[in-house]
Amino acid sequence: MMGAIQTGSDFLFAAAIQAPQLRPEAASSIAEGVDHLYFALTFITLFFTFIIFSTILVFMVKYRRRAENERPPDTGEHLGLELTWTIIPTLICVGLFLWASSLYFENSRPPSASTEIFVIGKQWMWHIQHPEGVREINELHVPVGVPVKLTMTSEDVIHDFYIPAFRVKKDVIPGRYSSLWFQATKIGTYHLFCAQYCGADHAEMLGWVYVMSPADYAAWLAGGVPSQTMQQSGELIFNKLGCASCHLSDGTGRGPSLLGIYSKEEELKNGDKRLVDEAFIRQAIVNPNSVVLPKYPAIMPTFQGQINEEQVLQLVAYVKSLASEERKTDGK
């Protein structure tokens, strides 16, 4: 059965590639896999629709009422049949579930060496900032063939970052980071949509994704004339807000040293183990009480309301960069 589905979906897939207006452009490393599953599902749908429709048609013609007082025989019940049409769909469903879920796992695991880009959704536009400090609005420039990871948050309501050609989508939620990754495979220009209803101009919250060759991308970045990298902006805020007064690099301050904490696993006071990622660092800044460390008192004040999402992102970028500066400090 699975084999038949595979062949059928391959056939549909081949046919769809012939008729490009029926298939959205496939420009990322995961698009083919998703489309394969999509066509398998289409095949199953067509298959069962065909079976049901044709059986009904045949019966309708064959057993049409021929006389007003006709009394058809009682066909009784049939346990075997019932079991057949319970078990076969169940097996198909289990197969689909396994296929779809493992594909989903694969698709949601970013390769470790990804370029990182930050996205802030705001009614009704996308603010995008590259680590190098270049900012853009409603446009996203990415190099081809390089995995890109987006860290996203919203300043107001829930939005959704959707690039159909890449088959990726993720809600962008206020008060929290969500992330998404892709690797573009084709140079070109693709739609960027907001796919979660967010108010009056939801339909205009769209933009373009430009996939460029690495050389073009480098040139584009250089032409952006950023004043500072995100990390530098973050360092400025870090000093201005007095974070450094508690977080001394040698760990003697009132707070823990932040050197090298990124991507480490922390054990919290309540026993939870948490990976220190962007979301964790953000949480430590805006709601420090929810991530208290065992050896420290819960004295870190919240910075919620004092800095906007962009500044939080810059702080996060800075704290992350402290990981790589560790060696530098050691050398001193």
Binding site: M60, T75, E82
Partner: protein, 545 residues
Amino acid sequence: MSTATIDVPEVPTGSRVNYLNAQYGVKSWLFTTDHKRIALLYLVSITLMFFIGGFFAVLMRLHLIEPQGALVQPETYNKLFTMHGVIMVFFFLVPSIPATLGNFLVPLMIGARDLAFPRLNLISWYIYVVGACFTLYAVISGGVDTGWTFYTPYSSSFSHTSVIPTAVGVFITGFSSILTGLNFVVTIHKMRAPGMTWFRLPLFIWAIYATSIIFILGTPVIAITLFLLALERLLHIGIFDPAIGGDPILFQHLFWFYSHPAVYIMILPGMGVMSELVTCFSRKRIFGYSFVAFSSLSIAIISFLVWGHHMFVTGQSIYAGLIFSVLSFLVAIPSAVKVFNWTATLYKGSISYDAPMLYALGFIGLFTMGGLTGLFLASLATDVHLNGTYFIVAHFHYIMVGGAVMAYLGGIHFWWPKITGRLYPDGWARFAALVIFVGFNLTFFPQFMLGYLGMPRRYAVYPAEFQVFNVMSSAGASILGIGYLIPLIYLTWSMRYGPAAGPNPWGAKGLEWTTPSPPPTENFEEIPVVTEDAYDYAESTVNRG
């Protein structure tokens, strides 16, 4: 024959006292406690709401003919789809079959004089009307623009429209559903005629029973959720507002805890109608009675376990996502069992093509397509691409319009002679069924294409490359709209001019067909004693022990 059901002499309508002519005057309707009259009150109000909701749909489709929008401002468009969704779901489809056909038929089918709590039944209708008035007030006072899903924090802190009146309206109607469900459950448990055992019940009753379970267990949760939403909006208590530490995703959990089961509220009664129609028009016992009966119950129960499949891309935990995905596949199985059993019932039957049967066959096909496209969405990897696009819109219209509304119309056509005592012109009815089928597919099939190509839903304007499919869809919607107007006309006509129907024009089984048409106020002069199984069409069947 082994029936002990009463032979009713054929009396021409008009000369006999029935529930319609027992009393006259507006007051006799507004203060009635007769379940049959209350069913008609619902029928009128629900039809009205359907046409209001449909009117909004027509405006939307007209607007979308042009990529830049042909008709209204984006703000207005957002209000259109919100009010379309709210009215169609909460004020039309949720009450549709249960409150009209259910109200009319449950006592008749189980051999009771009325529902267990007739006054409560009338109160339910008034509650419905009050809720509808609130929502219509919201429409008049400027509309709402949150989408029918009311997602926070947009609805709680950002929208400037009449969110609270709408939420209050939906909240109030919720109690109408709850009380209706309560009434059905008690009636089905306690008021069955002697001999009417559970496994002799018509499958429509099983379906209504399963629906009532969802009414009872699900609706209170949406009530409290909307309550919290209104409170949040009024006082900014912070429960859903991330700025104060609230979790906006929690709202989605609570919302879908009701609203997913609610989609089965909309389809289960339709499935019940289907079982009645398929058996009657093929003159066969249903194939696999107990499988169809229990699949209704299992759908009702499993439906409470899958709500998270609406939240796969919201940043819901992946672990929870997996659980919800596998359970969503599971809920598809009982539906599959039903479809196969209906098809098998036709085998060696004596099939006639009266109008209700055409609707029934349309239902089976369109529901199959709608349901199977649900599997695309239950699959995690494909849902990431399809979520929030027109694919979703197409999926649920295939089930709700192609399935549930078809079943509703089929049911209305089937029991119309019983309800009014009159026949409608069969030719027109078949013609309308055909127009609706064609118009429907033309409207919604292109939306699958649009969704896969990536067109997001709730878009007032869209990139020009999507125009062709949108125009096809709009064209289909006008055909569909006309298709819905035809039955409205001939059914109204038949109430006055239709020929008298007689107690059982289709030769159907079931206690409701043993009463005169229209039935007398007390339903049965004497409570019948039931000695045969449901759908005992075969002449040869003798009492099976």
